[in-house]
């Protein structure tokens, strides 16, 4: 949230060529502090999953078609039908059972997080490196453009994620994150 807010502030300031009442040095410092946290959290997440051999958020080897069929069943009917028709999936077959994560999370949500966070981190590091190592202006121009684009994608992803987790049917899982307990009735539905 800090990264999106401070990055968005910098971008919109340039976009509308407006004066800002906030000292921009402070905005940049908060942006770099939040970027440090993001890099730390991402590296910790990747290391933890790598050491435990966790693959829950990936479709799994040889499971692509099955996962796509599961996704087509999970999506709202018009979107699911278009996906199934486009890829030749048989929706008359029952949906494969959902495991720890839904097919939407494994095929759409998580890969988009990977893409947006990966691009933001990579381009952000290159932008920061220019203070200790000269980077050609043309390269910096395109790196900055991709950084802003990935930042907007990250903001969109957050909107979509909130839409997903705040759906009434999943509200029980939000409470579970805080308490560690899941209602029995919710588990029985799956």
């Amino acid at each position: 949230m800090l990264l999106i807010a401070t990055g968005g502030w910098q971008y919109i300031k340039g976009l509308i060529a407006a004066e800002t009442p906030i000292y921009m040095g402070t905005v940049y410092r908060i942006h770099y502090f939040a970027a440090t946290l993001l890099i730390f959290a991402t590296v910790a997440f990747l290391t933890d999953w790598w050491l435990r051999g966790e693959r829950g958020l990936t479709p799994g080897k040889g499971q692509s078609i099955r996962s796509l069929r599961g996704l087509a069943h999970e999506l709202p009917k018009p979107f699911g039908t278009i996906l199934a028709y486009g890829l030749g999936l048989d929706l008359r077959r029952p949906a494969p059972p959902t495991e720890q994560f839904t097919y939407y999370e494994r095929l759409i949500s998580f890969p988009l997080w990977e893409l947006s966070i990966g691009l933001v981190m990579l381009t952000g590091i290159i932008k920061a490196v220019r203070y200790i190592y000269p980077i050609p202006g043309d390269v910096l121009y395109w790196v900055s453009a991709v950084h802003v684009g990935a930042g907007v994608l990250l903001a969109m992803k957050l909107v979509d994620h909130l839409r997903y987790v705040l759906a009434p049917s999943r509200w029980a899982l939000m409470a579970t994150m805080a308490t560690g307990w899941i209602p029995e009735g919710f588990v029985k539905r799956f």
Binding site: D160, L166, A167, G185, F186
Partner: protein, 72 residues
């Protein structure tokens, strides 16, 4: 607690619509219109996408408050 989350989600969705509005007006504004379509297109399309994606979030925030939970 769910009312607080619904409020936060609603505020974030409205903020995204406002940012989308700024993007679109800036893309069609005097400054960027002199720089060509390549620089106008990203804030224009990004602004529309931000606003459109915020609509389902507003819908779910309203449903979260109105719809009684199916599981207690």
């Amino acid at each position: 607690m769910k009312f607080l989350w619904a409020l936060l989600g609603l505020l974030y969705a409205l903020l995204n619509i406002y940012v989308g509005y700024i993007f679109v007006t800036a893309a069609m504004g005097h400054g960027l219109s002199q720089k060509g379509l390549l620089l106008q297109a990203p804030p224009f399309l990004g602004g529309i996408a931000l606003a459109v994606l915020a609509l389902p979030l507003i819908w779910n925030c309203a449903r979260l408050v109105v719809v009684p939970p199916r599981v207690s």
